[in-house]
Amino acid sequence: MHHQLLNQLRSIVGKENFLDSEEDKLVYAYDGTPLIQHKPEAILLPRNAEEISHILKLANAEHFNVVPRGSGTGLSGGSVPVENSIVILMNRWNKLIEIDRDNLTAWVEPGVVTASLHAEVEKLGLFYPPDPGSQNICTIGGNVAENAGGLRGLKYGVTKNYIMGIEMVMPDGEIVRNGGKNVKDVAGYNLRDLIVGSEGTLGIFTKVLVKLIPRPETSKTLLAFFNHISAAAQTVSDIIASHIIPCTVEFLDNTTIRSVEAYSHIGLPVTAQALLLLEVDGYEEVVKRDAEKIHAICVRNGASGVKIAADQAEAISLKEARRTAFSALARVKPTTILEDATVPRSNLAILVEKIDAIARKYNLSIGNFGHAGDGNLHPTCLTDERDQDEIHRVEKAFDEIYDETLKLGGTITGEHGVGLAKRQFLEKMIEVPALEVMRKIKRALDPNNILNPGKIFTHAPKCEGKLPANLDEQAIL
């Protein structure tokens, strides 16, 4: 990027909010996604919506790319810079603007950390359910961009179910506000549902209005261990069939159990083939009754052990341990490649078996964990990026895993987004006409393709072997 242009950008945000040292470029080249990185030309920390608007207008005029970023914990490369791009860093926008206790809403800035929103609203007896694995550091802006899920998705849904309004800067620099505190509002197109999950390609958020609900009175957390994965899967089906909707039903396989235990030392049985972490919440009487029923269902399905958390502290430590699953798996091998295959709940056990078979076929070590209640699985390949032959087998294996996922009526990503990491699978998943509608929307709102380009959509159909040169822009980390 020309230094004159960089100077122009510097003068928009002020020199203290403009970073372009080699060191800064290096550390904003990645997010939480393995194997993908690319250095930006500069990192800007805008102070208000007008500055963002100014930057985007300049981007259209001067043809450079803009990539928004929160804490950089995404798992699909959504905030990884692309060629000729600057990063807009939003993590300092961390004010909780208003909690409206009458309308049960909160206006927040996009850089508010999800867990701190939880803490603030819970002080008032309110509740914001979406709780992604990285909730202690990920931001609301990133959650909205990726339509993040979490452990409580089964009962409470995901981020999109809690977004009532968004103020944002559109790719052309216009500042647009849509949605509001009305529970019912059918005036015009529902823009906010288009924006949630747009992966930073349709606008940069400056304010978000979230929906709150009353905080559940109490909760109970159970752990159940099984000698066979199928028994765990049957347990989940039976729980749902008996009309209990737990807020959390998490599944860990043996590889994951061992890794998590090595980190957290909470006494998980390392020989168990499957573990279910279940939580029910609500009114005391209901919670008690549901927990007893779940306990009985686990036993009936041959659980080798069922444990009920003694208190909140133990429940929290169990859930925190589950949140570390992805990172804990990195203890086993140098490189951890995480996927996000999701199928209708009833097909989850079949998918797990298929993945096991594929792992054996390609001689790979794949750990499985995920949100069993949602059918959202995170098969995680434990490998070594320096072993080219193995990495090639990993690619083939994941191709097959996604084929199986789609055959089972599933999706290539349940909660991480497409980003850079999964775009080559998108065409397998979405039919050409529908995909074209999406591309048209992107073209209409961002005709110069300056906002987070290269994410979600590939420029060309996927081909076997090496990607075309213009796509192969990310160096291997």
Binding site: D24, V27, G32, T73, V113, S134, F326
Partner: protein
């Protein structure tokens, strides 16, 4: 693995919100330097030197990344480069090369300070603010030193007979900073161990663990001190070496690593390290006599980084405190967050250390505690200073001192 789960626990990331000041960013830069992709730039040095080395990120890392070792290697590399270029800061060279290189000099400084404090010179100079003429930092720093007690030798109080007898011989290491500023903590340690029936070995000469040297680039000196300690305590035939300074204990537990390439000492060092115990650790393992007389007051516990993150000791000191009748124990919010003392960080990076300290003191104020208990002399100095600077009405105590206060009432 670069998932970012280390970010929320990093004090310097919390202060700046910038990736280069996070563990994840530092690791990426260290890797770039190691790969020859980045040279030892000023920005790189600044990011690394800004790190408190509190190792909260190591505790937080599910993947088990050993950040501490990486950043320490980087710090050694940087210090060597600075010295080669004659750019090492005077305050660092003075404290490391002169004060800490010989315990006699530290004692001497301690004596000077005691004289200076007792003659009323300290409060005079601080009131007049004469040091501001030289440097504002020096003026502020002058408030940091706690009162230096008179030097008495450690003694086993014969009037206070042990409650029980144990067949365990333990050695004490009185330490450097602890011994100058917190002589009473050492005496409390002697009393508590004696009352709990341990057979005590107190070396006639003083020995230093070598951590200050090791952490700041003088590995030869650190190894020499480590070998000396191993000789002395091995010869005394102790079962354990008991520490009341988290920083020293943490370092001595790493002697195996420090002397791994030493043909004579490597094996002995591993054995020695396995015998090093924090005072709260050994009491929790072996059991201790619960005091019967009560102490009233609201007490909270600040976790020294070198106990919780390095030695993974966290519940033991709380159990000691909770075992004292009459005490109301309150949890300190963010108890595991660094206080900013961090070795000599509060001297070499005073302004940054103060920002970290302010957060800690706000948490202490909000806890409403009258006593803050913590088991590391560096933390004690920093928190005492914080209480003065931010006007928080608390007393800072070592857990062993609180326990001995309770015991003392029984005699």
């Amino acid at each position: 693995m670069h998932c970012g789960l280390c970010l929320p626990v990093c004090p310097t990331y919390a202060l700046t919100g910038l990736e280069k000041n996070s563990p994840r960013g530092r690791i990426r830069m260290i890797r770039a330097v190691a790969d020859g992709e980045l040279s030892l730039t000023g920005n790189f040095k600044e990011s690394i030197n800004f790190c408190l080395n509190c190792q909260a990120c190591v505790t937080a890392c599910p993947a088990g990344v050993q950040y501490g070792q990486l950043v320490e290697a980087a710090q050694l590399h940087i210090e060597a480069d600075n010295r080669a270029k004659g750019k090492s800061s005077w305050i660092k060279r003075f404290s490391l090369d002169w004060v800490f290189s010989d315990l006699k000099r530290l004692r001497f400084i301690g004596k000077l300070m005691r004289g200076y404090q007792r003659a009323g010179l300290e409060s005079f100079i601080q009131r007049v603010g004469i040091l501001k003429l030289f440097s504002i930092k020096l003026h502020e720093l002058s408030y940091m030193a706690p009162p230096v007690p008179a030097r008495r030798s450690l003694h086993i109080n014969k009037q206070r007979a042990p409650f029980t007898k144990k067949d365990i011989r333990v050695g004490l290491l009185p330490g450097c900073v602890q011994d100058v500023f917190f002589r009473d903590v050492n005496q409390d340690t002697v009393d508590v161990l004696n009352l709990n029936g341990y057979d005590l070995f107190i070396p006639e000469k003083d020995y230093c663990c070598g951590s200050v040297h090791g952490h700041n680039g003088n590995l030869d000196m650190a190894r020499q001190l480590a070998r000396k300690s191993i000789d002395v305590y091995d010869a005394a035939g102790v079962d354990y070496v008991v520490m009341n300074s988290a920083g020293c204990g943490a370092y001595m537990k790493e002697y195996g690593h420090l002397l791994a390439d030493d043909p004579i000492y490597a094996e002995r060092a591993v054995k020695f390290a396995s015998r090093v115990k924090d005072i709260s650790e050994i009491l929790a393992e072996q059991g201790w006599i619960a005091p019967t007389k009560s102490i009233t007051g609201k007490v909270t516990y600040h976790e020294p980084c070198h106990l919780v993150h390095t030695q993974k000791i966290s519940h033991q000191p709380r159990e000691l405190i909770a075992g004292i009748p009459g005490i109301t124990f309150v949890e300190l919010p963010e108890a595991t967050w660094c206080c900013g003392s961090a070795g000599i960080y509060n001297i070499t990076r005073f302004e940054d250390a103060m920002q970290v300290l302010e957060r800690k003191m706000n948490n202490i104020r909000n806890s409403g505690a009258e006593y803050v208990v913590t088991g590391n002399p560096g933390c004690m100095i920093q928190l005492m200073f914080g209480a003065k600077k931010y006007e928080v009405p608390v007393q800072i105590l070592h857990p062993v001192s609180l326990l001995n206060q309770a015991y003392r009432q029984e005699v």
